[in-house]
């Protein structure tokens, strides 16, 4: 019976990593409550939710598969333009728009992944940057379709699923965005704790060994790149649906850099990093930026240096880990 016990313990230990921590329940309950309790902040919260989803998408690449990207806005912007054009030309129901944008951005991810996955980190950095620059210039040049530098306006936003209006209704729009984020977060969490997710970690940890135990590294990386691109596209579509104009800023370098910054601040490889990072980033930007813009740049630069030096993997989360680790070791002492 001893063996059975050990196996069950082992299964329990493996499953336990996926289990929801009480802090997570608290977090999502708090997020849901904010729909009713923080009406004055809905615009900011909507921004945070959208950036969070975008950062989660990047975390799937960087935190789980070890793929660095400086051009993730390519998929975000592509998804936004696709959603807007689809709504203008065909059908303005938002969830349909998200699906179309997700599929389109996923396809773009699938095709471009073949370029990105060649080479090592520096190559990938340059290739992703290059792809985003190319996408930016395409959007700029095709002004007959995208509105170019003037942006794309006049996108109809029908009620969600036909009954839940979000057009110029900040509370409803926030609830909609939050719901989409939660569903996609849930899916991402399942993915990273699945056998597929573990194979990504293996590839990230040691690609040589991963291929030596029979993992087709490239195919798995293409798959996660496609998923991440689809996520980014949906995040872009959400922004398009909740903002009056889709412009080139959706796809510019600043956006790629900001999302990377947010993810690094929040920490990679545990999914909440993107959420925490974007919340900290946007809240700080709003409040520090109100005082003086120069100070904003100063503090974000300062935070980046500190985190890059002392908490690169887990970002601000490592502060929590250190504190809870210290508390636990104190408790453990007799």
């Amino acid at each position: 019976m001893n063996t059975v016990n050990t196996v069950q313990q082992a299964v329990a230990a493996l499953k336990q990593k996926r289990a929801w921590h009480w802090l997570e329940y608290l977090f999502w309950l708090g997020a849901a409550a904010s729909v009713f309790l923080l009406p004055s902040q809905h615009a900011l919260l909507t921004q945070i939710a959208i950036w969070s989803l975008f950062a989660i998408s990047l975390d799937l690449l960087l935190g789980y598969a070890g793929i660095v990207s400086l051009g993730h806005a390519a998929y975000f912007g592509f998804g936004a333009y696709v959603a807007a054009l689809f709504a203008i030309n065909f059908y303005g129901e938002p969830v349909t728009g998200l699906l179309v944008a997700g599929i389109a951005a996923g396809l773009l991810g699938l095709v471009t992944s073949l370029l990105v996955l060649r080479g090592t980190d520096l190559t990938r950095l340059m290739v992703t940057l290059g792809i985003a620059l190319v996408m930016y210039e395409i959007a700029n040049q095709m002004s007959w379709l995208t509105g170019g530098a003037d942006g794309l306006t006049g996108m109809p936003v029908n009620p969600v699923l036909g009954f839940f209006p979000i057009y110029f209704m900040a509370a409803n729009a926030y609830a909609y965005v939050l719901a989409v984020c939660f569903v996609l977060f849930f899916v991402a969490k399942r993915i990273v704790h699945s056998p597929f997710g573990y194979s990504l970690r293996a590839i990230k940890g040691n690609p040589l060994r991963a291929s030596s135990i029979g993992i087709p590294n490239n195919r798995r990386l293409i798959a996660v790149y496609t998923i991440a691109a689809a996520y980014a596209g949906i995040a872009g579509a959400l922004l398009a649906q909740t903002t009056p104009v889709v412009s080139l800023t959706y796809i510019d370098f600043q956006r790629s850099a900001d999302v990377l910054l947010m993810l690094i601040i929040g920490g990679t490889g545990y999914l909440y990093g993107g959420i925490i990072g974007s919340a900290l980033f946007l809240v700080a930007q709003k409040f520090i930026g109100n005082v003086t813009p120069q100070y904003w740049e100063f503090w974000i630069g300062f935070a980046l240096v500190v985190i890059a030096l002392f908490a690169r993997d887990r970002g601000v989360f490592s502060i929590y880990e250190r504190i809870s680790g210290a508390l636990r070791s104190r408790k453990a002492k007799p």
Binding site: T3, T6, V7, Q8, A10, V11, A13, L14, K15, R18, R190, I191, H193, S194, P195, F196, G197, Y198, S199, R201, A202, G205, N206, L208, R209, S211, S212, I213, G214, I215, P216, N217, R220, A223
Partner: protein, 249 residues
């Protein structure tokens, strides 16, 4: 029937020829050792066998199937596994996770993205049993990177065995293991399942002669001589090649 065979295998890096017309035949179920002094081309040969490098000329056959152009992971699915001279492990995963991962990949379940990793009790049971066999039962849930070197070395071999290979390439399994823990590794190697064909790449003559039933000697990229351990031991040419080496041991 040869489990593993090379035909006129050659690798050139510019003017250097680390593998030169190698015709290696490893019988099914053999305990075959490949020895040779430093720089003889052992590592290049193993990289050619596993597909990490592509040969300039010649063929590699696994159980009669030509695998020359196949990628490393395809060779694994055809029944080839290897260990590395320098540990190649997943530092962030626990031994339990790593072994379960290998077993899942072997069973072609690695693309499941909606199942929870470790929820398949059959796979985990096999992983736990294997971990016990390799002396890893007490460190199942530790981070691999925090394990002592000897345990890591055991895991290195366990990961290869978890794939249930038909042919196993062991690249200096005892390399770097302190004298006190050495016998554990050697016991592990000796206890490998008999139906697995083993090609042992080794430097240490004690290990080779304690283990192998067939020995090939590689010198300057060429197969120098091949035979039973007795013949190799008494071959004056081999002794000459190894004279400098053996005094180290």
């Amino acid at each position: 029937m040869n489990a593993l065979e090379t035909v006129g295998l050659e690798k050139r890096f510019g003017g250097i020829v680390p593998t030169n017309d190698v015709n290696l035949k490893v019988r099914e179920g053999a305990r075959h050792a490949l020895i040779g002094p430093n720089g003889a081309g052992k590592t290049t040969l193993i990289n050619l066998l596993t597909g990490v490098l592509k040969p300039s000329k010649g063929r590699v056959k696994l159980g009669g199937t030509d695998i020359t152009t196949l990628s490393p992971h395809r060779r694994v699915s055809l029944g080839m596994a290897r260990t590395f001279q320098i540990n190649q492990l997943f530092g962030d995963l626990s031994p339990l996770e790593a072994i379960t991962l290998v077993i899942g990949e072997r069973e072609k379940l690695g693309t499941r993205f909606w199942r929870t990793f470790g929820s398949d009790e059959k796979l985990v049971a096999e992983a736990v049993a294997l971990a016990k066999q390799f002396g890893l039962a007490d460190v199942l849930e530790e981070r691999t990177s925090s394990l002592p070197y000897g345990k890591q070395r055991q895991l290195e071999i366990a990961l290869a065995i978890a794939g249930k290979p038909r042919v196993l390439l062991l690249d200096e399994p005892a390399a770097g293991v302190p004298e006190a823990e050495r016998h554990e590794i050697l016991e592990t190697v000796a206890a490998l399942p008999k139906d697995v064909t083993v090609l042992l790449i080794e430097h240490d003559m004690d290990i080779v002669f304690g283990f192998a039933d067939r020995i090939s000697v590689l010198v300057d990229g060429k197969l120098f001589v091949e035979g039973e351990p007795k013949e190799i031991e008494n071959d004056p040419r081999v002794r000459a090649v190894y004279l400098g080496e053996r005094t180290d041991d």
